[in-house]
Subunit: 153 residues, 2 copies
Amino acid sequence: MQLHKFVRVLLLLAVLGSTLAVAKDGSGDEQAIRALDAAWSQAAGAKALDKTVSFYADDASLLPSNAPIANGKEAIRAAWGQFMAMPGFSISFAPNKIVVAKSGDLAYEIGTFQSTLNDAQGKPASSAGKYVVNWQKRAGQWKVVADIFNDDK
Amino acid sequence: MQLHKFVRVLLLLAVLGSTLAVAKDGSGDEQAIRALDAAWSQAAGAKALDKTVSFYADDASLLPSNAPIANGKEAIRAAWGQFMAMPGFSISFAPNKIVVAKSGDLAYEIGTFQSTLNDAQGKPASSAGKYVVNWQKRAGQWKVVADIFNDDK
């Protein structure tokens, strides 16, 4: 009985410890952002324009390579619409690093993407690149507020 | 005398109000980051390599256009050294928007840059672009932790 009680106390401490760890290092927020990234990459890869744009805050900024900044959801929708309309377009991306502010209202992530477009001969040409995305919690929900990327080559 | 006292109370309220405003919206942090940006841009424009690299955290990442990610201060120094060694190199940049986390430990900024390099004929060719820089407070001092940019054209 004594041993049984001791094991239960140990288990309780372990649960409390991991809960506190999640609260302290913000890994709950990090996991929430990772889940959003997975859904966002899938939407973009499937050329689901509405879904792709839904991850941005209304006043977000998209800063594409070799194009002017797109401020606000309408401009961002137009830019993503242009990407998705390019022949042979496909994309996938995922974060390598996510850092969340102690206050849990702001975060940034660094990640990599792979994209494909048809070249001048109509053959698929892949390119690899990297990005930084900033997230802000709006009404309890993480939203993209700044999204910038560039090619590795 | 009554009027005199009234004016003093008004002045006191004004001072208190502005102090509270600074504490609440983090504009003290924003101003600190703007001052760092001004010094950083000046250092980069003057090709002061040590000074330019000093604004980064030891574990920062630089994500340049058309080049791989540079992780850590040594790799960042090498990348900036290559930029500065290009014939006709000059650069200046400044933020348009700075957002600071409520906890005052993380911030991001969106800005624009103008750079010049000599073209194949040795003539100065200017280009304009945009960037996102993430700052993190380390031991009470704001340091760049992620720096990514790309061209407008």
